[in-house]
Amino acid sequence: MKNAEKIEIDRRYCKGCMLCKYICPCDVFEPGQTRSDLDYLMPQPIRIENCRVCGLCESNCPDMVLTVFAKEKRKENQ
Amino acid sequence: MPQRQLESGMMFNGEGRKEAMKKGRIKVMLGNEACVEAALLAGCRFYGGYPITPATEILEIMSRRLPLVDGLCLQMEDEIAALVAVVGASWGGTKAMTATSGPGFCLMQEAIGLAVAVEAPCVIVNVMRGGPASGQSTSTAQGDLYQARYGSNGDYSLIVLCPSTAQEMFDHTIKAFNLSERFRIPVIILSDEVVGHIREKVFIPDADQLTFVERKVPTVPREEFVIFKPEENGVPLMPTFNTGYKSPVISQAKSLNGNRGNAKEAVENIHRLVSKIEDHMDEFAEVQVYGDDKAETAFVTFGSVCRAARSAVDMGKEKGLAIRSVEVKTVWPFPDDLVRRALAGAKRIVVAEMNLGMIQREIERVIRQPEIKIELFSKIGGIYPQPQEFLRFLEEKR
């Protein structure tokens, strides 16, 4: 099973809608305390170890600001 | 047809204030809301509309209010359908109206011609926003001035009123319904975003304080009635549907009996459509002067810009500058004589408007003294002018 290396959220445009949290089947996200440049509270991938890199959060993010980096992939690339 | 005076806020500062207040209500409301209040008071019972910023509140509030008075508010599929339905309702015997803004106003142009041609009383509000095209939906502008007069095809005339306060949105709406019934024409209220979206105190008189004009209907037997034969006042009696007159009403050029084909009568009829209004301008034309009516420096303004100009006049006075501000309330038919009178003796005329120079052209036409340059103080792009800027303009362009 895949694992996530890192989950990036672009703070310039995140609107804190929390659809990433809603869609994630592995309960990776929680609302965080950091504000995006647009003044919204951003989610935090606090349980990144749960992530199975299904990509749902990325494809459902309405602002296209979330990127999931898979571990395997990176290895392959190296 | 006595009309309440149009000056904004009068009721609050004037003598009989307390007296008046007893006979009505004072409420803080949106300009667009004041328009609805007045329409309902005037007897409007049909509204056909389509949402568009910044006029949408008129539709929204109508949809809330009309059912309570057994009226009908219909959100139609587009603005064309909205105004055509209003014309249908008008011939159905009902006072009817619609409201829109620039893009929707474009779409209504053909039906404005229809309302003119079939002499259907109705009221059309255009709360102006920035153009051209989709422009700036939430910004104010006054770029539809000529469109309101000339946007439809062919020769015609109609009345266009320009309110500058929420109170005037109320007053002009009452006036618009009255004029539409008096002349059997579409009357246009050419408001703008500032006026439509301002909230301020509006005095709503009791109905018995106001005069309401109702369309004149025929009473003679059907056989004796000639549908488009004018009465003395230039307007034919209106045999609205279901009154037994079995009226033939067509949008084509027509003769007195409503049929097509008689060129001579058709020509006379077109002439009458115009003259029934323009020969009676004394009944409704209105120009106000604020400030020193002998001042050599004069602003000419309409709509929301009147307000900023008034403040500029006041500020000028403080600085020892005598200024008059000529406020054109009924912009069409353009009140040539009243404007000429209001500008008599002015040496310097500055037309202030939120477009690239429209009333300016009318003033150039009306004030035919080559030595007086008609200056333009123009603001576009949704920028409402500040009083200081008027004074700066006077200084800088000197």
Binding site: - | E77, A81, V87, G93, K246
Partner: protein, 278 residues
């Protein structure tokens, strides 16, 4: 003038502006026959758009509002809204109703407002001299499709059905009897009814599309090409033979718009009385 004409026509507007042998005049008569049978002449209010067919109602001695090209339906809605007791009927052409006015048909149908749209389908823009209409058959040479029309037809009945009309029929001027019956049903139908009438235009359709300007030929053409088929599932077959299905396709009861409005107004005023929701 025959007796029906004597009784119901607006004499001072005669003669009809229609060309010799035009189906529009036949529709005037058929409609008046239905009205006479029902005795409802005083309940009528008509609207019409622009086109030859739009003049049909003008010759009837009733209230009629003839508006702009394509806009007869919204005018009817405004009338109906303020005169709910009236039988409101709109006369419109295939160009008027399906081209420029198509959208209004959709929305009147979905509202199920109590009115009747009589759509006269002569397969062409007749008034302006024979241009292609949305109802013109593929391949036809018209003034604006000199090399043959390549656009599929729009079928007004199918559109009315899809949009939610509660009564839909199509007949032709070669079917005056059932047409009159359908008129009567429509006049009594509570809701939106759409009646399409295939009608001869000898001068444009006849001359340029069908190859003969003779009224007789054109009426015969309709007789030959319109076949009764009231089952929509079999239309494709009929159409593939170059025929036009006619018949009464739908007639159901559904909440009517003006009645719903009145119910709403009633309810709202009651709630208001009780200080209901804001």
């Amino acid at each position: 003038m025959n007796p029906l004409g004597e009784k119901y026509l607006r004499k001072e507007f005669l003669p009809f502006l229609f060309c010799p042998g035009c189906g529009d005049g036949m529709i005037v008569q058929a409609f008046l026959q239905a009205v006479d049978d029902l005795g409802c002449i005083d309940d009528l209010a008509l609207t019409a758009g622009i086109g030859c067919s739009a003049w049909i109602g003008v010759y009837m001695n009733v209230d009629i509002l003839k508006v702009l090209h394509g806009r007869a339906i919204p005018a009817a809605i405004g009338l109906k809204a303020t005169q709910p007791s009236r039988k409101v009927v709109t006369f419109t052409g295939d160009g008027d109703c399906l081209a420029i006015g198509g959208n209004h048909l959709l929305h009147a149908a979905r509202r199920n407002i109590d009115m009747t749209v009589v759509m006269v389908n002569n397969q062409i823009y007749a008034m302006t001299g024979g241009q292609v209409a949305p109802s013109t058959v593929v391949g036809s040479k018209t003034q604006t499709t000199p090399y043959g029309n390549i656009e599929k037809q729009l079928d007004g009945c199918k559109i009315a059905l899809a949009a939610g009309a509660t009564m839909v029929s199509r007949w032709s001027t070669a079917h005056l009897k059932p047409l009159i019956k359908t008129f009567k049903n429509a006049l009594n139908h509570k809701g939106f009814s759409y009646i399409e009438i295939m009608s001869q235009c000898p001068v444009q359709t006849g001359r340029y599309l069908l190859g003969s300007g003779s009224p007789q030929f054109n009426l015969q053409w309709l007789k030959d090409h319109c076949v009764k088929e009231e089952d929509p599932s079999r239309w494709l077959e009929v159409e593939s033979q170059g025929k036009i299905p006619v018949g009464d396709f739908l007639r159901i009861e559904q909440p009517e718009f003006m009645e719903e409005v009145q119910r709403m107004n009633q309810r709202v005023k009651e709630e208001q009385g009780k200080g209901g929701d804001r």
